[in-house]
């Protein structure tokens, strides 16, 4: 009798040729920065990758650099066109395979703490769709 198929939820995608990813949110304090944090955590919950603190990357932590070297992809979620996350990554010699800028998805940057589940979902789905890959468009 055939065995029951295993669901690839969790971090089993690498078993099937999927990517081992590290996700960095910019973690800003405007709404889009807050969204970047929640979206990164949601992506981690969905088994997309491991959410990691951008400040740790900025510190040049050697343990994190080793993890990045062992990963297949780095995914960077910036809140706005200042792209602070991308600048930190660049300063540390890290090139993201996917770079999502939340304002590019149509979410305005405001200095408020309020955001919606739909806004978070927009960012999460953009990562799954690969909208932040070079040559891909944020708009759909």
């Amino acid at each position: 009798m055939a065995s029951r198929p295993e669901c690839a939820c969790g971090d089993t995608s690498a078993l099937a040729g999927g990517k081992r990813r590290i996700i960095f949110p910019c973690a800003g304090t405007a709404n889009v920065g807050l969204i970047s944090n929640v979206a990164a955590l949601q992506l981690a919950l969905e088994g997309y990758g491991v959410a990691t603190c951008i400040a740790l990357l900025g510190s040049g932590d050697p343990g994190l650099k080793k993890r990045i070297a062992e990963a297949d992809e780095v995914v960077l979620i910036d809140g706005c066109p200042m792209t602070c996350g991308a600048k930190i990554a660049n300063a540390q010699g890290v090139t993201p395979a996917q770079h999502i800028v939340i304002t590019g998805l149509g979410i305005d940057k405001v200095y408020e703490k309020n955001f919606t589940e739909d806004e978070v979902e927009l960012v999460v789905s953009a990562a799954w769709e690969g909208r932040g890959r070079p040559g891909e468009t944020h708009a759909r």
Partner: protein
């Protein structure tokens, strides 16, 4: 073209299904997109890791969520 997304309804299955819908729309092709969530049928199809993707009966992806760019390449053949 018949595109099947095989999986028991987990979040990754839903993500793959949505990506397929986007890829079909962006390619401008006509395709029947079907969810296969019956565990017996998934087993009978030989899928060991879900979500999986079959195009016209041929298994193309198993155990991961292909992004839209990859799906467009698969669907273009």
């Amino acid at each position: 073209m018949k595109i099947e997304v095989l999986g028991t309804g987990c979040m990754k299955c839903k993500r793959l299904f949505k990506n397929v819908e986007i890829a079909v729309k962006e390619l401008g092709i006509t395709a029947e997109i079907v969810k296969v969530d019956d565990i017996s049928e998934i087993i009978n199809r030989g899928v060991m890791l879900t979500p999986a993707l079959a195009v016209d009966g041929e298994m193309k992806v198993s155990g991961r969520v292909a992004d839209v760019k990859e799906l467009k390449e698969i669907l273009k053949g």
